[in-house]
């Protein structure tokens, strides 16, 4: 894995305008959005097909919600970074996501700058965790 390789991202949200917003942010960071899903089931299928480095998962989605998708993805891989997205970050939901193996949890009402910083910091922390892993 080379240092210069672009971080490959799968993005899952049922709202197209949210996907567009987050995609714009992620692309401006130099990442490559390799797939977009509108529900958790599609996100899992894209993960199987594309093996992304990072998955951004909305929580409230039809067909399969983000927390179920998170749990299914964590069974498949502990190497992929998973960041949850939500409009209302209630403490119990955030806790559940972290317990289920989410790397981080982002509120959707952040500015582009904040979103960028938070995603970057999460990715760097994830890389460090991976390096320190036995």
């Amino acid at each position: 894995m080379t240092e210069k390789r672009k971080v490959r991202v799968v993005l899952a949200d049922d709202e197209a305008h949210v996907r567009l917003y987050v995609k714009t942010v992620v692309k401006s960071m130099g990442c490559e959005v390799v797939g977009e899903a509108s529900n958790g089931q599609e996100a899992i299928e894209l993960f199987d097909r594309l093996s992304p480095d990072l998955v951004l998962l909305d929580i409230n989605m039809p067909v399969m919600d983000g927390i179920s998708a998170l749990k299914a993805l964590r069974v498949k891989s502990d190497k992929v970074a998973i960041v949850m997205l939500t409009s209302l970050a209630s403490a119990d939901i955030v806790q559940e996501c972290l317990d289920a193996g989410a790397n981080y949890h982002l509120r959707k009402d952040l500015s582009m700058k904040e979103l960028k910083e938070e995603i970057r910091d999460t990715w760097l922390a994830h890389l460090q965790d991976q390096r320190e892993a036995p």
């Binding site: 970050a89 209630s90 403490a91 036995p134």
Partner: protein, 53 residues
Amino acid sequence: MIKYDLAKMLEEIRLDERGGKPGGEEQKKILTQDEIREMAKSRRRKPADKAGS
């Protein structure tokens, strides 16, 4: 002609859904991004369960 008060009907439906309890809004704590960051950080500091041996 019967006139329906839709707002009142909706309120009654919601009241039913709450089991007849007034108020409705559950007191769930909504976290700021700073609070989420702290929560995630404190979790990272703990030794990971998956570290195993």
